[in-house]
């Protein structure tokens, strides 16, 4: 079970004077239960790519295989869209802007009802999912618009998670959040990964990439220009792709240059670095 993208091309407004090629011959594989990131500057094709993964966009050329689903360009519409989208949950950037229902629980149940669950079943699953995300009972009957930013984002996430997708795709899950809500959301995603889900994030947040991701894909002008571990990316041509290195990695590099023997592959957060400095000092 995995995701396989083969010779994917995507062109917006094909055969018009405004046609723009957003993806050019992208080939990649995402292993089951991995945690990967797509990075690249604005306009590199990241969002176009993830929308191809759940058939919001249909390839102009090429094939996408998501487990048993095969999406190609030979039909205008993909027939199994509904089943596919239950399997691949896509959380847009600022998902809280899409909340619309009268109450929190109704908002989360909305997707489930589209999948044929009865009102009662849908609400039951919605409530369970909300509790898992740390939204207490007292909130269920409130309007989602009364919630704080972090609560709204969790409710929006719950709407996707209620469908229990095996693959979760998140576009900029941490942008615009306060530090504590950001930590809460990244912990939550980490737990979902540990419970067996495949996680795909699109992000500019290199601290997140370093801390969690096993693999990074870099897109530049619609082409896949790099795939490897975060450490391989930061020690290589990141600048050419317009990417920043997280300050933690920068500090590690400087320490190594100054003769401190660090095991850089085991440094994901600042505390890991401090532990290694302490060991080195005590030797």
């Amino acid at each position: 079970m995995s995701i396989k993208v083969s010779h994917l091309f995507y062109t917006y407004m094909k055969k018009t004077p405004n046609e723009v090629e957003a993806l050019h011959d992208v080939n990649l594989t995402i292993e089951d239960n991995s945690y990967v990131a797509f990075v690249g500057t604005t306009g590199s094709g990241k969002s176009t790519l993830i929308q191809n993964l759940n058939a919001l966009l249909i390839p102009t050329l090429g094939t996408i295989e998501v487990d048993d689903f095969v999406i190609t360009n030979n039909k205008k519409r993909y027939k199994k869209t509904k089943q596919l989208r239950k399997h691949v949950g896509l959380v847009f950037q600022f998902p809280e802007y899409q909340l619309f229902e009268e109450t929190v629980e109704k908002d989360v149940a909305f997707g489930l009802k589209n999948y044929g669950y009865s009102e009662k079943e849908a609400l039951e699953i919605a409530r369970k999912t909300l509790l898992k995300l740390g939204i207490p009972k007292e909130y269920f009957l409130r309007s989602p618009f009364e919630l704080s930013g972090g609560e709204k984002r969790r409710v929006a996430l719950a709407g996707i998670l209620a469908l229990d997708p095996d693959i979760l795709v998140l576009d900029e899950p941490t942008s615009g959040l306060s530090i504590e809500v950001k930590n809460l959301i990244t912990d939550l995603i980490d737990n979902l990964h540990r419970s067996g889900k495949t996680i795909i994030v699109v992000t500019h947040d290199m601290d997140l990439v370093l801390k969690y991701c096993q693999k990074v894909f870099v897109l530049s002008s619609g082409k896949l220009v790099f795939e490897g571990t975060p450490i391989e990316l930061f020690s290589g041509n990141h600048e050419e792709y317009g990417l920043e290195v997280p300050p933690l990695y920068l500090a590690c590099q400087k320490l190594i240059k100054n003769g401190v023997p660090l095991d850089i592959t085991n440094i994901k957060i600042i505390d890991d670095l401090l532990v290694q400095i302490k060991e080195w000092k005590s030797k």
Partner: protein, 273 residues
Amino acid sequence: MTAVEVKNLSFSYDNKDNILNNISFQIEKGKYVSIVGHNGSGKSTLAKLLVGLLETKQGEIYINDLRLTNKTIKKIRQIESIVFQNPDNQFIGATVEDDIAFGLENRNFPQPKMIELVKEWASNVGMGDYLNKEPSYLSGGQKQRVAIAGALVLSPEILILDEATSMLDPKGKRNVRELIAKMKENMPFLTIISITHDIEEAYLSDQVIVLNSGEILFNGTPQEVFSHEEQLKNCGLDIPFIMKFKNGLDDLNIKYSSSNDLDEVISSICQSK
């Protein structure tokens, strides 16, 4: 000399809840000051008050010792320029050249001088090769640099950046950050006030003012302000990496140089071994 003085300023949009609550501070001429705070802290409201886009009802704002009122606003707008958050909402010209010239045209600048100035500022912000380009061909970072050129071509004494980098990708952010550093060096009398979310950017400024729920929580050098890790965390703010690193070294009782530069801190801990 004081460039900006704010005295007992309060503001509310609905006459009920105060967005800003009795704040006072001063900014010296030629300083680069960051105003930070989480969503809803009142920082964007403060930016709008400082340029007179919102009317001050309670308290006083002085720009170059001139009190900001309906009568002085025209004069004060010659002293201040502002760059907003969204690069697309402030591109008015059909081309880069037109856009930078917009403010000069409004001030009836003689054309030969205007052409010269526009070219000079386009190249100062690294957009000299794009004079005839339309905005749709530019990245967000490039548009923001054009906006900064359009603000600085009017030779203001105070430049206000209202989250000017928050919608940019890391490369665009870095370019604008480098441009600010260059301006600081070449224009020592320019006062820069940057309203920002970006803690690493704030660390580079001379003074940091932290707003929380409409009140000033801290006001001082980045080193002083960011030493309050816990309190900042409680109002949703992170601290710069170098400060976290130093705090961690303190916990381990490891001595290091008091420098604000990561390179020096690192070489000092390596030498002391």
